[in-house]
Each structure stands twice: as C-alpha cells, then as structure tokens.
C-alpha cells in the first residue's frame, strides 16, 4: 500500500510537462537554462538553493524530457529541451489566437481613430 501510494505521488509530479513546470523553483531552473547549458553548481549559484534541492528538481525535469543532460569531461551539463514544452504551448495557443484576432480588429479601430485625429488636426491648421 505504502509503495503503491508513493508510486502514485511520484507519477503525479512527473507525469507530464504541466506538472513539472507547476513548481516555481523548477520554472526558475528552466529560465536559467534558457540562457544556455549549465552544470549543477552554476544553477545552485544562480538560484541560491542547496545542491540536493536543485538535483531533485532537475531529476523531475529530466523525467518528463524538459531538460536533457550530457557528460562533458568531469561535469554533467544540463540544457533545456523546448520541444518537451510543446504541450503547454499547444494548450495556450487557442487562447493566444483569440486575443490575436481581437487585437487585429482593434488595429482597424485605431487606424480609424488616427485618421480622424489627423483630419481634425488639418482643420485646426
């Protein structure tokens, strides 16, 4: 039973990219890695967290594929894998599209207001 539950809890945090980025610290790690590949100790410095904590978060991020790792001499370098964040992007897209459409209509309204203002200005001269 205990094992079953811990497996469930683990599945809940590592199941997909959404859960992986739900943790603010993990988002900070992704932001840092967006600036380029880094070893753990660089992340520890940038985030001001303990190394065990950073390693724990990196493990979760790696399990869902959002972060990749490679060996480089005696260091292990971590980097962002943007492709794994695609489900989140796809989720936001329809929302983004509806705002884009709305703003396109607003562009037309603004164009009218600009022309009207220029017309008023010409009359004032």
């Amino acid at each position: 039973m205990g094992i079953y539950f811990s497996a469930m809890a683990r599945a809940a945090t590592t199941a997909d990219a959404f859960n992986a980025v739900a943790e603010p610290r993990r988002r900070q790690i992704l932001d840092a890695l967006a600036g380029g590949e880094r070893p753990v100790n660089a992340l520890v410095r940038e985030l001001g967290l303990g190394q065990p904590q950073v390693s724990k978060h990196l493990r979760v991020l790696r399990e869902v594929g959002v972060v990749d790792v490679r060996d480089h001499g005696r260091q292990r370098l971590y980097r962002l894998n943007g492709q794994a964040l695609k489900p989140i992007h796809d989720w936001i897209k329809p929302y983004e599209r509806s705002w884009s459409e709305r703003f396109d209509e607003l562009d037309a309204v603004l164009e009218d207001l600009k022309q009207k203002e220029e017309g008023d200005h010409d009359r004032d001269l």
């Binding site: 739900a22 929302y95 983004e96 705002w99 209509e105 562009d107 603004l110 164009e111 207001l113 600009k114």
Partner: protein, 161 residues
C-alpha cells in the same frame, strides 16, 4: 491607409495563478485607451472574429462597473463583467473580470499602456485566485472549438434519424 503590422498577441504564464498578454500597436496610447473605454468602439473589436458584441456597458470611474456580452458565431451567448478599481487615463486600468459562465472565478486585470515613438506596448496581467481558476480561464479559449464540435455532433445525430 497605412497597413498596420498585424502581429500575434504573446501569452505567457509568469506565475501559477497569472496570465500575461502582450502586444505592440502602431498607435499612440491615448487612442488605445479610447478604443478600450468607449462602448461604441469596444463593440467593434472585442468579439474578434468569433461573433458580435451585443452589449457593451462602461461606467468609467473607480467603483463603476462594466459588462460585455457577445453572441458567438455558433449562436451561444457569453457575458463578462467587472468593476473598475484604478484608472489612470491613457496609461493604466485595474479592473475585476468575471466570466459569467464561471461566476466564482473572478480575476484582477491590470492593463498597462507604454508609448514609445508613437507605438504602444499593451500589457494585460491577469491575476487569478488560484492555479485552477487560471487554468480554467485559458481553457475557456477552447470553448468556441468545443461548441463547434458539439454542433457537428448534433448534425450527425440528426442525419441518422
């Protein structure tokens, strides 16, 4: 007529319970403020291409309320309303927003207009009370598509009769 650069809105999620919408406009900020706060103008853009606005009420003062209703192309009606909390003409509007389909999930929206060389960057920070409400808000963007599928399903069902 000059062609305005049609570009996408950028949506990011700065925190668990926030949404940030950003877009640049080829217009000075006072005109965006005007288009945002004048009912006749809101009617022209607020529904995008998804339907038409049937009601736009704006009582532009702190404590005043607003309400917009649109009928989507698929025929269903969606309403939003809220209250103005802070108004800085041409620069900033803080207001609450309630999607009438989910009346318990109010957000606090901060609109900021920043002008530079006649172009204006518009930002809307949507602050929800929880991640669940924030996620629900984003999913509501799917509503149009979902409604379309339901309509299709209905057609199919009818043809089978």
């Amino acid at each position: 007529m000059t062609v305005t650069s049609s570009q996408s809105a950028k949506v990011t999620l700065p925190a668990d319970d926030q949404i940030l919408i950003t877009r640049e406009f080829d217009a000075p900020k006072h005109l965006i403020y005007k288009a945002w706060t004048t009912p006749e103008l809101v009617r022209r853009w607020w529904s995008g291409k998804r339907g038409h606005v049937t009601l736009a009420e704006i009582d532009l003062r702190v404590g005043g309320t607003w309400r917009y209703v649109m009928v989507a192309n698929q025929g269903f009606e969606v309403g939003f309303h809220g209250e103005y909390r802070e108004l800085v003409p041409d620069e900033r509007i803080v207001s609450t927003e309630v999607f009438e389909g989910f009346p318990d999930a109010a957000s606090l929206n901060t609109l900021t207009l920043t002008e530079n060389d006649g172009r204006t960057t518009l930002e809307i920070l949507v602050q929800h009370e929880s991640k669940e409400h924030r996620d629900g808000h984003i999913n509501s963007g799917m509503e149009g598509g979902m409604q379309e599928s339901m309509d299709l399903l209905e057609e199919v069902a009818r043809s089978l009769r």
